[in-house]
Symmetry: C2
Subunit: 227 residues, 2 copies
Protein backbone atom coordinates (compact mmCIF):
# COMPACT_ATOMS: atom_id res chain seq x y z
CA UNK A 1 0.00 0.00 0.00
CA UNK A 2 1.48 3.32 -1.06
CA UNK A 3 1.86 6.32 1.17
CA UNK A 4 0.71 9.69 -0.04
CA UNK A 5 2.08 13.04 1.09
CA UNK A 6 0.16 16.29 1.38
CA UNK A 7 2.02 19.60 1.50
CA UNK A 8 0.04 22.75 2.26
CA UNK A 9 1.74 25.69 0.55
CA UNK A 10 1.32 29.44 0.65
CA UNK A 11 3.32 31.65 -1.68
CA UNK A 12 1.59 35.01 -1.57
CA UNK A 13 2.47 36.83 1.64
CA UNK A 14 4.70 33.95 2.64
CA UNK A 15 7.10 34.21 5.54
CA UNK A 16 6.02 37.63 6.77
CA UNK A 17 8.26 37.38 9.80
CA UNK A 18 11.28 37.53 7.49
CA UNK A 19 9.99 40.88 6.22
CA UNK A 20 12.67 43.05 7.83
CA UNK A 21 15.39 41.01 6.18
CA UNK A 22 14.07 39.86 2.80
CA UNK A 23 11.91 41.66 0.25
CA UNK A 24 8.48 40.27 -0.61
CA UNK A 25 9.85 38.80 -3.82
CA UNK A 26 12.77 37.21 -2.01
CA UNK A 27 10.46 35.70 0.61
CA UNK A 28 8.36 34.15 -2.15
CA UNK A 29 11.47 32.82 -3.90
CA UNK A 30 12.69 31.36 -0.61
CA UNK A 31 9.29 29.76 0.03
CA UNK A 32 9.34 28.10 -3.42
CA UNK A 33 12.96 26.96 -2.91
CA UNK A 34 12.06 25.36 0.41
CA UNK A 35 9.10 23.60 -1.20
CA UNK A 36 11.48 22.26 -3.84
CA UNK A 37 13.84 20.94 -1.14
CA UNK A 38 10.92 19.17 0.52
CA UNK A 39 9.89 17.68 -2.85
CA UNK A 40 13.43 16.44 -3.48
CA UNK A 41 13.50 14.73 -0.06
CA UNK A 42 10.12 13.11 -0.81
CA UNK A 43 11.27 12.01 -4.28
CA UNK A 44 14.25 10.22 -2.70
CA UNK A 45 12.03 8.54 -0.08
CA UNK A 46 9.55 5.69 -0.41
CA UNK A 47 6.66 8.11 -0.90
CA UNK A 48 5.26 7.82 -4.42
CA UNK A 49 2.60 10.50 -4.59
CA UNK A 50 2.45 14.12 -3.42
CA UNK A 51 -0.40 16.58 -3.45
CA UNK A 52 0.48 20.22 -2.96
CA UNK A 53 -2.50 22.22 -1.75
CA UNK A 54 -1.87 25.88 -2.42
CA UNK A 55 -3.53 29.20 -1.83
CA UNK A 56 -1.76 30.50 -4.92
CA UNK A 57 -2.02 29.75 -8.61
CA UNK A 58 -1.82 26.09 -9.52
CA UNK A 59 -0.13 26.70 -12.87
CA UNK A 60 2.54 28.88 -11.37
CA UNK A 61 3.44 26.43 -8.61
CA UNK A 62 3.52 23.55 -11.05
CA UNK A 63 5.84 25.44 -13.29
CA UNK A 64 8.16 26.62 -10.56
CA UNK A 65 8.28 23.67 -8.22
CA UNK A 66 8.08 20.75 -10.55
CA UNK A 67 9.22 21.62 -14.01
CA UNK A 68 12.11 23.94 -13.27
CA UNK A 69 14.44 21.07 -12.56
CA UNK A 70 13.67 20.48 -8.89
CA UNK A 71 13.14 16.79 -9.37
CA UNK A 72 15.57 14.42 -10.98
CA UNK A 73 14.29 13.20 -14.34
CA UNK A 74 14.55 9.65 -13.06
CA UNK A 75 12.21 10.41 -10.14
CA UNK A 76 8.94 8.54 -10.21
CA UNK A 77 7.28 10.81 -7.65
CA UNK A 78 3.84 11.82 -8.87
CA UNK A 79 3.24 15.47 -8.00
CA UNK A 80 -0.12 17.19 -8.30
CA UNK A 81 -1.15 20.70 -7.34
CA UNK A 82 -4.56 21.78 -6.17
CA UNK A 83 -5.78 25.30 -5.40
CA UNK A 84 -7.70 25.98 -2.23
CA UNK A 85 -8.05 29.39 -0.62
CA UNK A 86 -9.42 28.20 2.70
CA UNK A 87 -7.55 27.95 5.99
CA UNK A 88 -5.04 25.22 6.75
CA UNK A 89 -7.17 23.17 9.15
CA UNK A 90 -10.30 23.38 7.01
CA UNK A 91 -8.48 22.26 3.87
CA UNK A 92 -6.55 19.45 5.56
CA UNK A 93 -9.48 18.09 7.52
CA UNK A 94 -11.58 17.89 4.41
CA UNK A 95 -8.75 16.15 2.55
CA UNK A 96 -8.14 13.50 5.21
CA UNK A 97 -11.82 12.75 5.77
CA UNK A 98 -11.92 11.29 2.28
CA UNK A 99 -8.50 9.67 2.42
CA UNK A 100 -8.24 5.88 2.78
CA UNK A 101 -4.50 5.51 2.14
CA UNK A 102 -1.81 6.24 4.79
CA UNK A 103 -0.99 9.93 4.50
CA UNK A 104 1.94 12.09 5.55
CA UNK A 105 1.17 15.77 6.06
CA UNK A 106 4.43 17.66 5.71
CA UNK A 107 4.99 21.40 6.08
CA UNK A 108 6.52 23.24 3.12
CA UNK A 109 9.01 25.23 5.24
CA UNK A 110 11.15 22.36 6.51
CA UNK A 111 13.86 22.30 3.83
CA UNK A 112 16.30 20.24 5.91
CA UNK A 113 13.99 17.20 5.92
CA UNK A 114 15.86 14.05 4.86
CA UNK A 115 14.57 11.06 2.83
CA UNK A 116 15.87 8.80 5.65
CA UNK A 117 13.66 10.45 8.25
CA UNK A 118 10.63 10.31 5.94
CA UNK A 119 11.19 6.57 5.47
CA UNK A 120 11.56 6.05 9.22
CA UNK A 121 8.37 7.98 9.94
CA UNK A 122 6.22 6.00 7.52
CA UNK A 123 7.68 2.71 8.78
CA UNK A 124 5.98 3.20 12.15
CA UNK A 125 3.14 0.86 12.99
CA UNK A 126 1.37 3.39 15.17
CA UNK A 127 -1.78 4.94 13.69
CA UNK A 128 -0.53 8.49 14.34
CA UNK A 129 3.09 9.69 14.23
CA UNK A 130 3.73 13.27 15.31
CA UNK A 131 6.97 15.05 14.42
CA UNK A 132 7.35 18.15 16.61
CA UNK A 133 8.33 21.57 15.34
CA UNK A 134 9.88 24.06 17.69
CA UNK A 135 7.73 25.89 20.22
CA UNK A 136 4.95 23.35 20.23
CA UNK A 137 4.32 23.02 16.52
CA UNK A 138 3.73 19.92 14.39
CA UNK A 139 5.93 19.82 11.30
CA UNK A 140 5.01 16.38 10.03
CA UNK A 141 2.06 14.18 10.83
CA UNK A 142 1.76 10.62 9.60
CA UNK A 143 -1.73 9.15 9.63
CA UNK A 144 -2.22 5.46 8.91
CA UNK A 145 -5.97 6.01 8.98
CA UNK A 146 -6.36 9.64 7.94
CA UNK A 147 -10.18 9.46 8.02
CA UNK A 148 -10.01 8.63 11.74
CA UNK A 149 -8.10 11.80 12.68
CA UNK A 150 -8.68 15.53 12.79
CA UNK A 151 -5.88 18.07 12.61
CA UNK A 152 -5.59 21.29 14.62
CA UNK A 153 -2.66 23.37 13.43
CA UNK A 154 -1.56 26.72 14.90
CA UNK A 155 -0.72 27.33 18.55
CA UNK A 156 0.42 24.33 20.52
CA UNK A 157 -0.59 21.85 17.84
CA UNK A 158 1.82 19.18 19.08
CA UNK A 159 -0.11 18.82 22.34
CA UNK A 160 -3.46 19.06 20.57
CA UNK A 161 -2.52 16.24 18.18
CA UNK A 162 -1.34 14.04 21.06
CA UNK A 163 -4.65 14.72 22.83
CA UNK A 164 -6.69 13.90 19.74
CA UNK A 165 -4.88 10.57 19.29
CA UNK A 166 -5.49 9.67 22.95
CA UNK A 167 -9.13 10.74 22.93
CA UNK A 168 -9.83 8.69 19.80
CA UNK A 169 -7.90 5.69 21.10
CA UNK A 170 -5.43 5.78 18.23
CA UNK A 171 -1.96 4.45 19.01
CA UNK A 172 0.63 7.17 18.57
CA UNK A 173 4.38 7.82 18.50
CA UNK A 174 6.55 10.93 18.56
CA UNK A 175 9.32 10.98 15.97
CA UNK A 176 12.42 12.86 17.02
CA UNK A 177 14.05 14.91 14.24
CA UNK A 178 16.02 18.12 14.54
CA UNK A 179 16.01 18.65 10.78
CA UNK A 180 12.23 18.40 10.53
CA UNK A 181 11.78 20.54 13.66
CA UNK A 182 13.69 23.35 11.95
CA UNK A 183 10.93 25.28 10.23
CA UNK A 184 12.10 28.55 8.73
CA UNK A 185 9.95 31.38 10.07
CA UNK A 186 12.24 34.00 11.53
CA UNK A 187 15.57 35.55 10.63
CA UNK A 188 17.50 33.53 13.16
CA UNK A 189 16.03 30.30 11.73
CA UNK A 190 18.07 31.02 8.59
CA UNK A 191 21.15 30.06 10.66
CA UNK A 192 20.07 26.42 10.48
CA UNK A 193 19.55 26.61 6.75
CA UNK A 194 22.96 28.19 6.14
CA UNK A 195 24.74 25.65 8.35
CA UNK A 196 22.95 22.43 7.41
CA UNK A 197 21.32 23.16 4.04
CA UNK A 198 22.62 21.55 0.86
CA UNK A 199 19.65 22.21 -1.40
CA UNK A 200 17.80 24.90 -3.35
CA UNK A 201 16.91 27.16 -0.43
CA UNK A 202 20.38 27.34 1.16
CA UNK A 203 21.74 27.96 -2.30
CA UNK A 204 19.20 30.74 -2.91
CA UNK A 205 20.12 32.48 0.36
CA UNK A 206 23.83 32.37 -0.49
CA UNK A 207 23.10 33.71 -3.96
CA UNK A 208 21.35 36.81 -2.62
CA UNK A 209 24.25 37.43 -0.24
CA UNK A 210 22.92 36.09 3.06
CA UNK A 211 25.73 34.72 5.21
CA UNK A 212 26.64 33.74 8.75
CA UNK A 213 28.57 36.32 10.69
CA UNK A 214 30.73 34.66 13.32
CA UNK A 215 32.59 36.74 15.85
CA UNK A 216 35.63 34.60 16.49
CA UNK A 217 36.44 36.38 19.74
CA UNK A 218 33.07 35.67 21.25
CA UNK A 219 31.78 32.46 22.74
CA UNK A 220 28.37 33.20 21.32
CA UNK A 221 27.05 31.64 18.17
CA UNK A 222 26.61 33.14 14.73
CA UNK A 223 24.17 35.77 13.50
CA UNK A 224 22.66 36.06 10.03
CA UNK A 225 23.91 38.99 7.99
CA UNK A 226 23.68 40.28 4.44
CA UNK A 227 26.28 41.57 2.02
CA UNK B 1 33.42 -3.00 24.97
CA UNK B 2 31.63 -0.52 27.19
CA UNK B 3 30.86 3.04 26.25
CA UNK B 4 31.67 5.81 28.68
CA UNK B 5 29.91 9.17 28.85
CA UNK B 6 31.49 12.48 29.85
CA UNK B 7 29.27 15.38 30.94
CA UNK B 8 30.88 18.79 31.44
CA UNK B 9 28.92 20.67 34.10
CA UNK B 10 28.95 24.20 35.44
CA UNK B 11 26.77 25.14 38.36
CA UNK B 12 28.09 28.50 39.60
CA UNK B 13 26.98 31.27 37.28
CA UNK B 14 25.06 28.74 35.23
CA UNK B 15 22.60 29.82 32.58
CA UNK B 16 23.25 33.55 32.76
CA UNK B 17 20.98 34.20 29.80
CA UNK B 18 18.02 33.13 31.92
CA UNK B 19 18.97 35.89 34.38
CA UNK B 20 16.05 38.20 33.67
CA UNK B 21 13.60 35.42 34.34
CA UNK B 22 15.08 33.23 37.08
CA UNK B 23 17.09 34.16 40.18
CA UNK B 24 20.67 32.92 40.53
CA UNK B 25 19.54 30.22 42.92
CA UNK B 26 16.76 29.13 40.55
CA UNK B 27 19.17 28.96 37.63
CA UNK B 28 21.46 26.72 39.64
CA UNK B 29 18.57 24.50 40.68
CA UNK B 30 17.44 24.26 37.08
CA UNK B 31 20.98 23.38 35.94
CA UNK B 32 21.18 20.57 38.53
CA UNK B 33 17.70 19.31 37.55
CA UNK B 34 18.69 19.19 33.88
CA UNK B 35 21.86 17.28 34.78
CA UNK B 36 19.69 14.80 36.68
CA UNK B 37 17.43 14.35 33.64
CA UNK B 38 20.49 13.65 31.48
CA UNK B 39 21.74 11.13 34.06
CA UNK B 40 18.38 9.37 34.12
CA UNK B 41 18.42 9.05 30.30
CA UNK B 42 21.96 7.65 30.45
CA UNK B 43 21.01 5.22 33.23
CA UNK B 44 18.21 3.85 31.04
CA UNK B 45 20.54 3.50 28.04
CA UNK B 46 23.31 1.03 27.33
CA UNK B 47 25.94 3.41 28.73
CA UNK B 48 27.43 1.96 31.91
CA UNK B 49 29.79 4.64 33.15
CA UNK B 50 29.52 8.43 33.43
CA UNK B 51 32.09 10.98 34.44
CA UNK B 52 30.81 14.44 35.33
CA UNK B 53 33.55 17.05 35.03
CA UNK B 54 32.54 20.09 37.02
CA UNK B 55 33.86 23.55 37.75
CA UNK B 56 32.00 23.43 41.06
CA UNK B 57 32.39 21.37 44.21
CA UNK B 58 32.59 17.62 43.66
CA UNK B 59 30.92 16.75 46.96
CA UNK B 60 28.00 19.05 46.34
CA UNK B 61 27.33 17.74 42.81
CA UNK B 62 27.61 14.13 43.99
CA UNK B 63 25.13 14.79 46.74
CA UNK B 64 22.65 16.67 44.59
CA UNK B 65 22.79 14.80 41.33
CA UNK B 66 23.30 11.24 42.41
CA UNK B 67 22.16 10.64 45.93
CA UNK B 68 19.02 12.76 46.02
CA UNK B 69 17.04 10.13 44.23
CA UNK B 70 17.77 11.01 40.61
CA UNK B 71 18.71 7.49 39.70
CA UNK B 72 16.60 4.45 40.25
CA UNK B 73 18.04 2.18 42.93
CA UNK B 74 18.16 -0.62 40.38
CA UNK B 75 20.35 1.43 38.02
CA UNK B 76 23.83 0.04 37.48
CA UNK B 77 25.19 3.26 36.00
CA UNK B 78 28.51 4.11 37.60
CA UNK B 79 28.70 7.88 38.16
CA UNK B 80 31.86 9.69 39.16
CA UNK B 81 32.48 13.42 39.59
CA UNK B 82 35.76 15.21 39.00
CA UNK B 83 36.56 18.88 39.64
CA UNK B 84 38.33 20.91 36.99
CA UNK B 85 38.28 24.69 36.77
CA UNK B 86 39.70 24.99 33.27
CA UNK B 87 37.80 25.78 30.08
CA UNK B 88 35.60 23.27 28.31
CA UNK B 89 37.89 22.51 25.36
CA UNK B 90 41.00 22.24 27.49
CA UNK B 91 39.39 19.84 29.94
CA UNK B 92 37.73 17.68 27.30
CA UNK B 93 40.75 17.47 25.01
CA UNK B 94 42.91 16.35 27.89
CA UNK B 95 40.33 13.75 28.90
CA UNK B 96 39.94 12.25 25.41
CA UNK B 97 43.70 12.16 24.69
CA UNK B 98 44.02 9.52 27.37
CA UNK B 99 40.79 7.72 26.56
CA UNK B 100 40.93 4.33 24.81
CA UNK B 101 37.25 3.35 25.16
CA UNK B 102 34.45 4.73 22.94
CA UNK B 103 33.24 7.93 24.59
CA UNK B 104 30.06 9.98 24.37
CA UNK B 105 30.43 13.65 25.28
CA UNK B 106 27.00 14.91 26.24
CA UNK B 107 26.04 18.43 27.29
CA UNK B 108 24.38 18.86 30.68
CA UNK B 109 21.65 21.22 29.41
CA UNK B 110 19.79 18.81 27.12
CA UNK B 111 17.17 17.46 29.53
CA UNK B 112 14.91 16.08 26.77
CA UNK B 113 17.54 13.52 25.67
CA UNK B 114 16.03 10.03 25.45
CA UNK B 115 17.69 6.67 26.22
CA UNK B 116 16.58 5.50 22.74
CA UNK B 117 18.55 8.22 20.99
CA UNK B 118 21.63 7.55 23.14
CA UNK B 119 21.47 3.88 22.16
CA UNK B 120 21.10 4.75 18.49
CA UNK B 121 24.04 7.15 18.60
CA UNK B 122 26.45 4.64 20.15
CA UNK B 123 25.32 1.94 17.72
CA UNK B 124 26.90 3.84 14.80
CA UNK B 125 29.96 2.29 13.22
CA UNK B 126 31.39 5.64 12.19
CA UNK B 127 34.39 6.86 14.20
CA UNK B 128 32.74 10.23 14.91
CA UNK B 129 29.01 10.91 15.40
CA UNK B 130 27.97 14.55 15.72
CA UNK B 131 24.58 15.52 17.15
CA UNK B 132 23.82 19.14 16.26
CA UNK B 133 22.51 21.70 18.69
CA UNK B 134 20.64 24.71 17.40
CA UNK B 135 22.56 27.57 15.79
CA UNK B 136 25.59 25.53 14.89
CA UNK B 137 26.33 23.93 18.23
CA UNK B 138 27.26 20.34 19.05
CA UNK B 139 25.16 18.83 21.82
CA UNK B 140 26.47 15.29 21.76
CA UNK B 141 29.62 13.87 20.23
CA UNK B 142 30.33 10.16 20.06
CA UNK B 143 33.95 9.21 19.54
CA UNK B 144 34.87 5.59 18.84
CA UNK B 145 38.55 6.50 19.07
CA UNK B 146 38.56 9.52 21.39
CA UNK B 147 42.37 9.80 21.34
CA UNK B 148 42.21 10.42 17.57
CA UNK B 149 39.93 13.48 17.86
CA UNK B 150 40.11 17.01 19.18
CA UNK B 151 37.04 19.00 20.24
CA UNK B 152 36.38 22.69 19.59
CA UNK B 153 33.25 23.83 21.38
CA UNK B 154 31.77 27.35 21.25
CA UNK B 155 30.82 29.20 18.07
CA UNK B 156 29.97 27.04 15.10
CA UNK B 157 31.30 23.87 16.68
CA UNK B 158 29.16 21.61 14.47
CA UNK B 159 31.05 22.71 11.34
CA UNK B 160 34.38 22.62 13.17
CA UNK B 161 33.79 19.03 14.30
CA UNK B 162 32.84 17.96 10.77
CA UNK B 163 36.01 19.61 9.47
CA UNK B 164 38.18 17.90 12.07
CA UNK B 165 36.74 14.49 11.20
CA UNK B 166 37.37 15.12 7.49
CA UNK B 167 40.89 16.47 7.98
CA UNK B 168 41.85 13.47 10.12
CA UNK B 169 40.24 10.98 7.75
CA UNK B 170 37.82 9.73 10.39
CA UNK B 171 34.49 8.43 9.10
CA UNK B 172 31.62 10.49 10.47
CA UNK B 173 27.84 10.67 10.71
CA UNK B 174 25.33 13.32 11.76
CA UNK B 175 22.64 12.09 14.13
CA UNK B 176 19.33 13.89 13.79
CA UNK B 177 17.55 14.54 17.10
CA UNK B 178 15.25 17.41 17.99
CA UNK B 179 15.28 16.48 21.67
CA UNK B 180 19.07 16.55 21.88
CA UNK B 181 19.23 19.75 19.80
CA UNK B 182 17.06 21.49 22.40
CA UNK B 183 19.64 22.93 24.79
CA UNK B 184 18.16 25.25 27.37
CA UNK B 185 19.95 28.59 27.26
CA UNK B 186 17.37 31.31 26.83
CA UNK B 187 13.92 32.03 28.18
CA UNK B 188 12.15 30.90 25.02
CA UNK B 189 13.98 27.55 25.17
CA UNK B 190 11.95 26.83 28.30
CA UNK B 191 8.95 26.40 25.96
CA UNK B 192 10.42 23.08 24.76
CA UNK B 193 10.99 21.92 28.31
CA UNK B 194 7.45 22.79 29.38
CA UNK B 195 5.90 21.07 26.36
CA UNK B 196 8.04 17.95 26.07
CA UNK B 197 9.65 17.56 29.50
CA UNK B 198 8.61 14.71 31.81
CA UNK B 199 11.55 14.81 34.21
CA UNK B 200 13.11 16.74 37.07
CA UNK B 201 13.71 20.01 35.24
CA UNK B 202 10.21 20.41 33.76
CA UNK B 203 8.87 19.53 37.19
CA UNK B 204 11.10 22.13 38.82
CA UNK B 205 9.93 24.85 36.44
CA UNK B 206 6.28 24.05 37.10
CA UNK B 207 6.93 24.03 40.84
CA UNK B 208 8.30 27.58 40.80
CA UNK B 209 5.31 28.76 38.78
CA UNK B 210 6.71 28.88 35.24
CA UNK B 211 4.02 28.14 32.68
CA UNK B 212 3.11 28.48 29.01
CA UNK B 213 0.88 31.36 28.14
CA UNK B 214 -1.16 30.60 25.05
CA UNK B 215 -3.27 33.26 23.44
CA UNK B 216 -6.11 31.21 22.03
CA UNK B 217 -7.16 33.96 19.65
CA UNK B 218 -3.76 34.21 18.06
CA UNK B 219 -2.15 31.96 15.50
CA UNK B 220 1.22 32.48 17.16
CA UNK B 221 2.76 29.99 19.50
CA UNK B 222 3.11 30.17 23.24
CA UNK B 223 5.26 32.39 25.43
CA UNK B 224 6.81 31.51 28.77
CA UNK B 225 5.32 33.30 31.74
CA UNK B 226 5.48 33.20 35.50
CA UNK B 227 2.82 33.17 38.19
Amino acid sequence: MGVKAIIPFKKEGAKLRLGDFLTENEREELAISMLKDVLVALSESKIDEVEIITTGSRDEIEKEAQLNGALDLTSTLKVSVREDERGLNEVLNEAITEEKEPTLILMADVPLTTPESINEIIKHEEVVVIVPGRKGGTNALFLRRPYAFSVAYYGLSFSKHIETAKRRNLSHAVYDSFFISADIDEVEDLIELLIHGRGFSADYLRRIGVFLNVDKNSKSRAVVDRK
